[in-house]
Structure formats: C-alpha cells, structure tokens
C-alpha cells in the first residue's frame, strides 16, 4: 500500500518536473494543451483483442457505417494505403489494427473542434491479415473489418 502510494507520488512529480523543464526551455507555452500520454499498454499488446482492451473498445459492436478503403491485394506490405470514414454521428476517435502484425495497434486518432470522422494514412502489414477499425462515438464503441492480402510483408527483416 505504502509502496503503491510512493510510486504514484514519484510518477506524478516526475511528470510535473518534465512539464516545468519543457516550459522553461520554451518548448511549451503555458496553457498549451498537452497530448495524452502514449498508450504503451495498447501499442505493446500482441493481439488485437488486448489492444482493444487497452483502448477501452473491447466488445465493440459491428457497424456498416464504418467504411474502410484499402486495397484487396497489397503488393508491398511496407506501404498499404488505408482510408477510414465513420458515418456514425458523434464519432470522436478512429483506431486501426492489423490482426497479424506483431503489435496489432497501428494508430489511434482523436477528433475535436469540427474534425470529421475520417482519416487517411499508410500502414505496414507483416502479412495477409484483417485490417480492423474501431470507432468511439457517443460513448459507445463500434468496429468493422476488411481483409487485405499482402504479397511481400513489410515489417520484419
């Protein structure tokens, strides 16, 4: 118990220290919103299910209102274009996973102040896999999947 408290204390003071240094160095303007801490648990997860748990979207409902635009066959797994459009009203975030990658979570995008539920990017795929998308909207989680066949993998060496 005591140890736990101490850990929490050290952690919070450590973070505050970093912020102070960043402000002093002029890197951060006071009042500037800090990005949320990188979700190491979700990014280090080795299954999509665990990654989704880490992002609080476990048990997401299948939805046809999430459109995933990606090639049926990608010749080069190192660069696979993926475009996601969520037509679900009140979409606040889009997450992209590749089931067969060593770490399935690719990215998490959060929208605010007029940004639409849309994102376009290019991802790496180790092999043929399902590309899974999770969406948060109105406090609920939704999901959709598309298979992409990969001719040459783009993750390992």
């Amino acid at each position: 118990m005591m140890n736990q408290l101490r850990r929490t204390f050290l952690k919070s003071t450590g973070a505050a220290g970093t912020v102070a240094v960043a402000i002093a160095a002029g890197l951060l303007k006071p009042g500037q919103v800090l990005a949320a801490e990188w979700n190491k648990v979700a990014f280090d997860a080795t299954t999509t299910a665990d990654a989704m748990k880490g992002l609080n979207v476990a048990g997401a409902t299948e939805s046809k209102d999430i459109l995933i635009k990606a090639p049926d066959i990608a010749e080069n797994g190192a660069v696979v274009p993926v475009e996601v459009t969520s037509k679900i009203p009140g979409t606040t975030s889009i997450m992209i996973f590749v089931d067969k990658n060593q770490n399935p979570l690719i990215a998490d995008f959060e929208f605010s102040n007029g940004a639409e539920g849309y994102v376009s990017t290019r991802i790496k795929m180790a092999s043929t896999s399902h590309v899974k998308v999770a969406v948060k909207a109105g406090g609920k989680a939704y999901t959709a999947t598309k298979e992409v066949k990969v001719t040459i993998g783009g993750c390992g060496g």
């Binding site: 190192a78 696979v80 060496g157």
Partner: protein, 104 residues
C-alpha cells in the same frame, strides 16, 4: 530528425481537406541490420497534434507500423479559406517536427 513536413489544405465547400507528408524513417525495432545481425532500434513518430487557428482538431498516437515517411489526411468541417493549420509531431526519441499551412 530529417527536416520536413509538407502540408496542403484545400477547401471543399465548408470542409477543409488536409494532407500532410512527414519525413521520418519509422523504424519498427523488428528489423535486423544486414551487416551486424543486430536489431535496429525502434525510431518512430508516436504523437501528432493538429490545430486549426490554434484549436486542437486532431490528436493521434502512432505505433511503429505507420509506414515510412508518414502520410496523414483528415477533414475539418467549418473551416474557412486562410485559416491556419499547424501540425506538431514528436517521435519516441523526443525529436520534434512541425509544419503549417493556410487553407486555400
């Protein structure tokens, strides 16, 4: 970090279509150096924040499996011509890059 982020933002109706291209190796940490046989350490952009006239519109967290020289496209409703888009990115080494563009 290699210099450079290119941003293009065009208005379609009242929606700004923003496209950004960042120069970054996006090393996964899973590849081996062909000569030494040792793993090449991971080096990738993990945080991206985009603002419209200073207001945050997009916050992204990335893993190492976003492709090399990342491309990012997003859309902002209610934007006007001349509005300023700024994108800040930080990698897992704490190196920063940023770019800005006015919506055309």
């Amino acid at each position: 970090m290699a210099e450079g982020m290119k941003i293009r933002a065009t208005l379609q109706g009242d929606v700004a279509d923003v496209k950004a291209l960042m120069n970054h190796i996006m090393e996964t940490g899973l590849r081996k150096d062909a000569n030494t046989g040792k793993l090449i350490p991971a080096h990738f952009i993990n945080n991206v924040v985009a603002t419209l006239n200073g207001k945050t519109v997009l916050e992204a967290q990335w893993g190492a499996a976003v492709a090399k020289n990342p491309f990012l496209g997003f859309k902002i409703k209610g934007a006007k011509a001349g509005d300023k888009i700024v994108i800040n990115a930080v990698d897992n080494h704490g190196e920063k890059m940023s770019g800005e563009a006015a919506i055309a």
